[in-house]
């Protein structure tokens, strides 16, 4: 019995430490993940952002059909890289009970491609391009205030 408890409680205490992190991850409406990229210093390269929205939610695309809607927007602001181009995926035109016209939205998983180029002063080696993804999500019955997710892209700059 004492052996069980001596093995179990350290495990339980570790799990309890993890709970806030697990809850935080699960309450995010949208998550972003990236893969490391190998790039040549003077050449543009493409990094992919894997974006996942919670089931039941949709987010406006970069060009929503209504001027009042808040577009999804990606920016890169850290690490010594310039944005050459951003390829937002084409959204789906979906009709909702609250809109007269279909809205152009993302749902589920989607990818955003961003073409970057290192600034001339960026040193070769491992670098981190840091950015933000701003979005505004809704369900069929409620909307959430605009949020911004920070992300990093590991770049092996050669």
């Amino acid at each position: 019995m004492s052996k069980i408890s001596s093995n179990f409680f350290p495990l339980l205490s570790r799990l309890l430490v993890l709970v806030p992190a697990l809850l935080a991850a699960q309450t995010d409406l949208l998550t972003v993940s990236t893969q490391p990229v190998i790039a040549k210093k003077a050449e543009p390269f493409v990094a992919q952002l894997n974006v996942q929205l919670k089931p039941g939610l949709h987010a406006n695309t970069n060009k929503p059909n209504d001027e009042l809607l808040i577009p999804l927007k990606l920016t890169i602001d850290k690490g010594g890289f310039a944005v050459v181009k951003i390829d937002y995926p084409v959204g789906k035109n979906e009709k909702y009970s609250f809109s007269d016209e279909p809205l152009n939205v993302y749902s589920g998983a989607f990818q955003i491609g961003v073409t970057l180029k290192a600034h001339p002063g960026t040193a070769p080696g491992l670098a981190m391009a840091g950015g933000k993804l701003r979005y505004q999500a809704c369900s069929e019955t409620m909307c959430f205030p605009p949020k911004t997710v920070d992300f990093r892209i590991a770049v092996d700059l050669r």
């Binding site: 019995m1 069980i4 408890s5 179990f8 339980l12 799990l15 309890l16 709970v19 697990l22 809850l23 991850a25 699960q26 309450t27 409406l29 919670k54 089931p55 039941g56 939610l57 009042l68 809607l69 808040i70 909702y96 009970s97 609250f98 809109s99 809205l103 505004q136 809704c138 369900s139 069929e140 019955t141 409620m142 909307c143 959430f144 205030p145 605009p146």
Partner: protein, 174 residues
């Protein structure tokens, strides 16, 4: 011992499985004994006049947090226009609190377009925090004649639900 371990693990499972976004919540009108005072605020309305919640004591108030970018909120606006017309003379008022970052620049044109006939103000972070942070829109509070929160509706609920609650609160003894 095993029982407490089982409870602990079950609780952990429950906590980690409840991470989905909130669904629409329609809270029924609370009994008077369970109501708490609505947090006071003072903001400016569309004409620049002070809009003070305390001035509404004696009236039933529908306090609606919304935004122009919120689709479900737009469904409710014609209902609220209708409620303002129907119940105004019975001691009822709608107050809209827009949570638009761009403020009056986007709200005033929307008010004109939709024919909003009730008082409007622009909410700020402080006001939202007083009302639990207003994590999703629409969020609507029904406040009784004594200034107490009688019901909270989070997300889009039916017009019939609002009518039922408003009439119940209006029929309560003054």
């Amino acid at each position: 011992m095993y029982r407490s371990i089982f409870i602990g693990v079950s609780l952990l499972g429950l906590l980690t499985s409840c991470g989905s976004f909130p669904d629409t919540v329609r809270a029924a009108v609370k009994p008077v004994s369970a109501r708490k005072m609505a947090v006071p605020f003072s903001l400016k309305d569309a004409d620049g006049k002070p809009l003070v919640l305390a001035d509404y004591k004696g009236k039933v108030v529908l306090l609606n947090f919304w935004a122009t970018w919120c689709g479900p909120c737009k469904i409710e606006i014609p209902w609220f226009i209708d409620f303002e017309k129907t119940y105004r003379d019975k001691g009822f008022a709608v107050i809209g609190v827009s949570m638009d970052d761009d403020g009056w620049a986007v709200v005033k044109p929307h008010m004109a377009k939709t024919g909003i006939n009730y008082r409007m103000t622009i909410g700020d972070e402080q006001t939202a925090l007083k009302y639990g942070g207003v994590d999703s829109l629409p969020t609507t509070y029904l406040i009784d004649r004594e200034g107490r929160v009688a019901a909270v509706h989070i997300g889009l609920v039916s017009k019939g639900d609002y009518v039922k609650d408003i009439e119940q609160l209006l029929s309560a003894a003054k």
